[in-house]
C-alpha cells in the first residue's frame, strides 16, 4: 500500500476503487455486528461461502460481513444487492434456498421477509419496514453498506473526503466555526457543546494537547457506540483526526472497553489501514499535519466512562475521577489539554464537515441539533438501535419505531440515561426527546439507552437495581457516593423485601441530597434513578412499605405463587417441572404448592397451560389455605 500524499491522489485512489465495483453484481451482506454474531451470523456467512462454492458462484457473487444496521431483534440480518432485499432471522438452513431462489432465479423467499404483525403484509426492502421507515439514519445507514474490515469500502462511500477538505481548504478556526455553528453537543452524557471543549483546549497555551475517543460505553442497556466502532471504525477515526487538526493536537487515544473485543479488533485494524494509506502518521495527505493515535483497552470499570477517570486510567492508574474545577480541556491527561468526546459525537464530525452545519441543524430542535441514536431495549417489540432526529417524542419512538409493548402488556415507564438517568412515566410520553427536556423530566439523555418497562416491572426494584449496580461500580473515593449508595441500597433492599418502614422514602431523599456533595458527576447523579421513581411512582413505594405489597408482582420476597383449585386440571406440568419439588400433585388431584419449599422461581406459572391459567402470583394478601385432602379429587 502506498501512502496517499495529496488530495488528488486520494481522489484517484477513490475513483479506482469505485470503478472496480460493479453495481449490478450480486452482493450478499450479512450483519456481523455483535448482536447478529450472537444469533449465529458467523455460521450464516460460512454457509453462504460453502453454498456459493458448491454452485460455482464464488467469483460472481460477493459476500461480506457488515456493521450493525440496528434491528438486532430479528438477526441475523441478510441483505441481497442490487435488489436490496432484506431477509430476517436467517439460519444456515435457509442459505441453500436463498442461493438457489434469490441469487440464481431472482425470486424472493417470502417467509424470510419482515411480516407486519397487524396486517400480515410482507416488506421486501429495509425502507418498507416500519422500524426503519420512521427513523432518520444519517449515521447508522452507513453501517450496512460497509464491510467493517475494509477501508476500500469506506473510501468508496466518500471516506476521508472530510479530512482532505479540512486539511487543504479550511483553517482550524474555520473547522471550529463549522462545529460551533452546528451546535453539536456531546452524545455521551451531559450534552456539553463539543465546540466549547475544543475551543478551550485550542486556546490553552500548552503546546502538547490530546484528543480522545471515549468508547468505554458502560451504561447498562446502551450499545450504540459498540455498533459504530465495530461497524464503521474509520468514520470515528476520521472525526478524531479532524478534531485534532482543529484543536492543534498531534496525539490521540481511543479508550475501548475490553468487553467489546470486536470493537478493539476493528479499530486497531482501521488504524493500521489508515497509517498505511497516510491518513494517520506524519505529513497526513502531504498537508504537513502529523497525528498518531493509540488504542487503550479499559479493564472493566464503569466509572472510567467519566472523563477525568478515563484520563487517569490512560495514565496507567486506577480510574478515579478528579475534581474538575479546572476543566480537562485545559488540564487533562498528564495535565495537558485534552478533548474527550464519545464515539457517536466523533462520528458526526465528518458529516458536518462534508454536508455543512446548516444541513446538520436541519435535523433536531434549536437546542439539540442533529440526530441521536438510541438503544431501544427491554419490554418492546422491536428491540435494537434507533436513530431519530432530536425532538421526536418518546411516544413515537416507542410506538412507531418500537412497535409497542409485546404480549398485550401495559406500558409503565421508559428509563433513559443509564445509572445517572431516570424513569419517565406514561404521562410524560409526549415529551420531545432532547438534552434539556429529558433533564427537566428528572432524567437525562445519557449515551442513549432507552429501556422500556411494562406493568410487570417493579419500579422500586428498578431503583434498587441501579443502586446495586453503582455499589460495585463507584470508585469509592468520596464519602457521599460510597456511603450514600451503601445506605440507599440497604433501604431499598429492605423495602423490596417487605420490611420497609415509615420514613424510608424521606431517608432516601435525604441521602440523595447528601450525594450532591460527591466528587464527580457520576456520584452526584447516582440518586437520579431513585428520585425519579419516587417522583413518578411514589404509590409503588408506599404499597411496598405500608401494604407490604408489590403491585407489579415482581419482588420475590413479597410474592407467593398459588394454584387456583377451581382452575387446576391436575395435568401434572408444574408438578413435574418444579425444580424445588414444592408441588404436591397426583392423578386427578388438585395440585398444591408447598409455600415452605417454594423458591419462587416462577416455573409453575410459565408451564401451566394457558387454557387452564391456574397458577397466579399474589402479593399483599395471605395465601389461601390449601384445599383439604378430601376435596382435592377432580371428578
Amino acid at each position: 500500500m502506498t501512502r496517499l500524499n495529496s488530495p488528488e491522489k486520494l481522489e484517484c485512489a477513490r475513483k479506482d476503487i469505485v470503478s472496480r465495483i460493479d453495481p449490478t453484481k450480486p452482493c450478499i451482506s450479512v450483519c456481523a455486528g455483535a448482536g447478529c454474531l450472537a444469533s449465529g451470523a458467523a455460521e450464516v456467512i460460512a454457509a453462504f461461502k460453502t453454498e456459493l462454492d458448491f454452485h460455482g458462484l464464488t467469483t460472481e457473487v460477493n459476500t461480506k460481513g457488515t456493521g450493525c444496521p440496528g434491528f438486532c431483534e430479528r438477526g441475523p440480518i441478510v441483505m441481497i444487492y442490487p435488489e436490496g432485499i432484506c431477509y430476517l432471522k436467517v439460519k444456515p438452513e435457509d442459505v441453500p434456498e436463498i442461493v438457489s431462489h434469490t441469487i440464481k432465479e431472482k425470486k424472493v423467499v417470502d417467509r424470510l421477509l419482515y411480516e407486519d404483525p397487524a396486517t400480515g403484509t410482507r416488506a421486501l426492502r429495509e425502507s418498507d419496514i416500519p422500524f426503519y421507515k420512521n427513523q432518520q439514519r444519517n449515521i447508522l445507514s452507513e453501517n450496512i453498506r460497509l464491510d467493517s474490515k475494509s477501508m476500500d469500502d469506506y473510501l468508496a462511500i466518500g471516506g476521508y473526503s472530510a479530512l482532505s477538505k479540512v486539511l487543504f481548504q479550511m483553517t482550524p478556526e474555520e473547522v471550529m466555526g463549522e462545529i460551533k455553528k452546528s451546535n453539536l453537543r456531546g452524545r455521551g452524557g451531559g450534552g456539553f457543546p463539543a465546540w466549547r471543549k475544543w475551543e478551550e483546549s485550542r486556546n490553552a497555551p500548552d503546546p502538547i494537547k490530546y484528543v480522545i475517543v471515549n468508547a468505554d460505553e458502560g451504561d447498562p442497556g446502551a450499545f450504540m457506540d459498540r455498533a459504530l466502532i465495530e461497524g464503521n471504525p474509520h468514520s470515528i477515526l476520521e472525526g478524531l483526526i479532524i478534531g485534532a487538526y482543529a484543536v492543534g493536537a498531534h496525539e490521540g487515544f481511543i479508550y475501548v472497553r475490553q468487553e467489546y473485543p470486536l470493537a478493539v479488533e476493528n479499530i486497531n485494524l482501521a488504524i493500521r489501514q489508515a497509517s498505511e494509506r497516510g491518513f494517520v502518521g506524519k505529513d497526513i495527505l502531504g498537508s504537513g499535519f502529523d497525528f498518531t493515535v493509540k488504542v487503550h483497552m479499559g479493564a472493566g470499570a464503569f466509572v472510567c466512562g467519566e472523563s477525568s477517570a478515563l484520563m487517569t486510567a490512560l495514565e496507567g492508574r486506577a480510574g478515579e475521577p478528579r475534581p474538575k474545577y479546572i476543566h480537562t480541556a485545559v488540564k487533562g491527561v498528564w495535565d495537558h489539554p485534552s478533548v474527550l468526546n464519545n464515539v457517536e459525537t466523533w462520528a458526526n464530525v465528518p458529516q458536518i464537515i462534508n454536508k455543512g452545519a446548516d444541513w446538520f441543524t436541519s435535523f433536531g430542535t434549536a437546542g439539540s441539533t442533529g440526530t441521536k441514536i438510541f438503544s431501544l431495549v427491554g419490554k418492546i417489540t422491536n428491540t435494537g438501535l434507533v436513530e431519530v432526529p432530536m425532538g421526536v417524542t418518546l411516544r413515537d419512538i416507542i410506538t412507531k419505531v418500537g412497535g409497542g409493548i409485546p404480549g398485550g402488556k401495559k406500558f409503565k415507564a421508559v428509563q433513559t440515561g443509564g445509572p445517572s438517568g431516570g424513569c419517565i412515566p406514561e404521562a410524560q410520553l409526549d415529551l420531545p426527546v432532547d438534552f434539556d427536556e429529558l433533564t427537566k423530566a428528572g432524567s437525562m439523555m445519557g449515551s442513549g439507552g432507552m429501556i422500556v418497562m411494562d406493568e410487570d416491572t417493579c419500579m422500586v426494584d428498578i431503583a434498587r437495581y441501579f443502586i446495586d449496580f453503582l455499589k460495585d461500580e463507584s470508585c469509592g473515593k468520596c464519602t457521599p457516593c460510597r456511603e450514600g449508595i451503601r445506605q440507599m441500597l440497604a433501604v431499598l433492599t429492605r423495602i423490596t423485601a417487605g420490611k420497609g418502614k415509615e420514613g424510608d422514602i424521606e431517608l432516601l431523599e435525604e441521602l440523595a441530597e447528601s450525594m450532591g456533595a460527591a466528587l464527580c458527576a457520576l456520584g452526584k447523579s447516582a440518586p437520579n434513578p431513585v428520585l425519579s421513581t419516587i417522583r413518578y411512582f411514589r404509590d409503588e413505594y408506599e404499597a411496598h412499605i405500608r401494604d407490604k405489597k408489590c403491585p407489579a408482582l415482581s419482588c420475590k420476597e413479597m410474592i407467593a405463587f398459588h394454584i387456583d383449585p377451581a382452575k387446576c386440571k391436575a395435568c401434572g406440568s408444574c408438578f413435574r417441572q418444579c425444580p424445588a419439588e414444592a408441588i404436591h400433585g397426583g392423578k386427578k388431584l388438585i395440585h398444591i404448592i408447598d409455600q415452605e419449599k417454594c423458591t419462587k422461581c416462577g416455573t409453575c406459572l410459565d408451564v401451566c397451560p394457558s387454557r387452564f391459567g391456574a397458577v397466579r402470583k399474589i402479593s399483599g394478601e395471605p395465601v389461601p389455605a390449601p384445599v383439604p385432602e378430601d376435596k382435592r379429587a377432580i371428578a
Partner: protein, 218 residues
C-alpha cells in the same frame, strides 16, 4: 502573586492566586471542618466534610473547600442549612464505620449527627487516605495502599514492605482520624499472615478476613 477578592460568609476576603477556599477561610478565622486534608500532602477531596456552597454565575453549587481554587468575586457560604444537613449525614455515615472516633464524635456534636443512625459496619476506616498518601508522598515507601473499589474499598499493607519498614516508622498511626485503630489493625493482620498466603484470596487484603488479632493501637 495577584490578589483575589472574594466573599466568605458575608466577609470580604483578600486571597492570593493558588489558594483554596479552605486557605482563604482560615486566613480570616473562619473554620471549615476537614478530615482527609493535610498541610503536607497533595489535595485529595475525598471525605467531602469541607463541602461549602458557592455561587457561580448566580447558581448555587456544592464544592469541596479544600480543593476549590479561589476566584475573583466568588461568593462562599460555609454554614447554610443545606451544607449543615449534608455534613450531618456524612458524619452519620462515617460513624457507622468508626463509632468511637473522637474526631468524628466532636464533629457529630457540632452538627447534631446521630452516632447510631445507620447500622454499624465497624471497619474503622473512613477512607480519608491519610495513611496511604503520607506513606507514598512523604515517606516514599508505599507500604500501604487502597484495594478494590466502591463499597468494597479498603486499605491494605503490602506485607513484604510492611515487614521491613513499618515497625520503626508508624508515623501514619497518629494521622488516622479513627484513632489509629484501622492502620494498626490492618498492619497487624498483614504481618501475621505469611506473604504467600496474604495474596491467595480475593483482593489480597487481610482486613476483612476477621482473623487479625487485636493489637494495641499506636
Amino acid at each position: 502573586m495577584s490578589e483575589i477578592n472574594l466573599q466568605i460568609d458575608g466577609k470580604e476576603v483578600v486571597a492570593t492566586e493558588g489558594m483554596t477556599i479552605l486557605d482563604a477561610a482560615k486566613s480570616v478565622g473562619i473554620s471549615i471542618p476537614t478530615l482527609c486534608h493535610h498541610e503536607k500532602l497533595e489535595p485529595y477531596g475525598g471525605c467531602r466534610i469541607c463541602t461549602v456552597e458557592v455561587e457561580v454565575r448566580g447558581w448555587p453549587k456544592l464544592v469541596a473547600g479544600c480543593i476549590y481554587p479561589v476566584e475573583k468575586g466568588l461568593v462562599v457560604r460555609t454554614r447554610t442549612e443545606k451544607v449543615d444537613k449534608i455534613r450531618k449525614v456524612l458524619l452519620e455515615e462515617m460513624l457507622a464505620h468508626a463509632p468511637d472516633s473522637e474526631e468524628l464524635k466532636a464533629l457529630a456534636q457540632e452538627y447534631g449527627a446521630d452516632r447510631d443512625r445507620f447500622e454499624k459496619h465497624p471497619s474503622f476506616c473512613i477512607h480519608c487516605g491519610l495513611c496511604v498518601r503520607y506513606c507514598a508522598e512523604i515517606k516514599k515507601k508505599n507500604a500501604v495502599g487502597f484495594v478494590d473499589r466502591g463499597s468494597n474499598r479498603e486499605i491494605s499493607f503490602i506485607p513484604e514492605i510492611a515487614a521491613k519498614e513499618c515497625w520503626d516508622c508508624k508515623e501514619c498511626f497518629p494521622l488516622c482520624p479513627t484513632s489509629a485503630l484501622q492502620a494498626a489493625y490492618v498492619l497487624a493482620g498483614a504481618l501475621m499472615t505469611p506473604p504467600e498466603e496474604a495474596h491467595s484470596g480475593g483482593c489480597g487484603c487481610s482486613c476483612s478476613c476477621g482473623s487479625a488479632p487485636e493489637k494495641q493501637a499506636g
